[in-house]
C-alpha cells in the first residue's frame, strides 16, 4: 500500500541543537515531495518542494533533501520560533492530490 511515514512523531530540542526529521515514502512515480509547517490552529504553510533524488533546498535554518526512498528536513541551530508540526506530503502518479504523513511535532526550548 502506498504510504508516507514520518519519524519521529515528536522531537524536543534545546535551542541551538541541530537535528533531522525523516519522511519515508513507498509510492510509485513520485511527482514531488512537499514539506509544510503547521502551527496550532492554523493551516499548513508551504516550505519546499523536491522533485528528484539528490535535490536539496534551503530556507533560513531549514534544509530539505531527497533520496529515492526518503526525505530529510535538517534543522540547524533551531530557535523556539521553529516549534511547530512539520508535515511531509507526496504527489505521485497521475493524481494532483497530496498524500500526507502524520507529521513530526517539534518543540524547541531555551
Amino acid at each position: 500500500e502506498d504510504q508516507v511515514t514520518q519519524s519521529p512523531e515528536a522531537l524536543r530540542l534545546q535551542e541551538g541543537e541541530s537535528s533531522s526529521l525523516n519522511c519515508s515514502y513507498t509510492v510509485s512515480g513520485l511527482r514531488g515531495l512537499f514539506w509544510y509547517r503547521q502551527d496550532p490552529g492554523k493551516g499548513p504553510e508551504f516550505l519546499f518542494t523536491l522533485y528528484s533524488a539528490g535535490e536539496e533546498k534551503e530556507k533560513e535554518r531549514l534544509k530539505a533533501t531527497l533520496t529515492k526512498k526518503e526525505s530529510f528536513l535538517h534543522i540547524t541551530a533551531p530557535k523556539p520560533e521553529d516549534s511547530a508540526t512539520y508535515l511531509c506530503a507526496v504527489r505521485y502518479g497521475t493524481a494532483s492530490k497530496l498524500t500526507f504523513g502524520t507529521g513530526t511535532r517539534l518543540q524547541v526550548t531555551l
Partner: protein, 116 residues
C-alpha cells in the same frame, strides 16, 4: 496578495443538521482542493477542482459530502445530515495549476467543525 480564505473559522452544529463551508482561493489559481484533518490523523484528501474539468471526487467519504465551485473561484463544501465522526478541521488549498511547480498547494486557515 491575499491568501486562501475560509469561512466560518469555527462551526458547531447538531447531529443531523446540514453545514456549508466556504473557500475563497488565491486569485488566479485554477486548482482548488479540500482536505480534512482529524485529531491525530494526517490530512485526508476529499475533492479536487481544476478549471472547467469534472472534479476528482475520489476522496469524499460518503454521499453526504458534496462540493461545488462556482465561476472557477469560490468553492462550497456541503455536509448533509452531519454525524459526530464528521468533526474535524476542513482545509482548503489552491494552486496555480495541476502539474510541476504549479502544483505547490497553499492552504487556508481551515474551518473547525464540531458535531454535537
Amino acid at each position: 496578495g491575499a491568501g486562501v480564505s475560509q469561512s466560518p473559522s469555527n462551526k458547531v452544529t447538531e447531529k443531523g443538521k446540514d453545514v456549508e463551508l466556504r473557500c475563497d482561493p488565491i486569485s488566479g489559481h485554477t486548482a482548488l482542493y479540500w482536505y480534512r484533518q482529524s485529531l491525530g490523523q494526517g490530512l485526508e484528501f476529499l475533492i479536487y477542482f481544476q478549471g472547467n474539468s469534472a472534479p476528482d471526487k475520489s476522496g469524499l467519504p460518503s454521499d453526504r459530502f458534496s462540493a461545488e465551485r462556482t465561476g472557477g473561484s469560490v468553492s462550497t463544501l456541503t455536509i448533509q445530515r452531519t454525524q459526530q465522526e464528521d468533526s474535524a478541521v476542513y482545509l482548503c488549498a489552491s494552486s496555480r495549476g495541476p502539474r510541476g511547480s504549479y502544483n505547490e498547494q497553499f492552504f487556508g486557515p481551515g474551518t473547525r467543525l464540531t458535531v454535537l
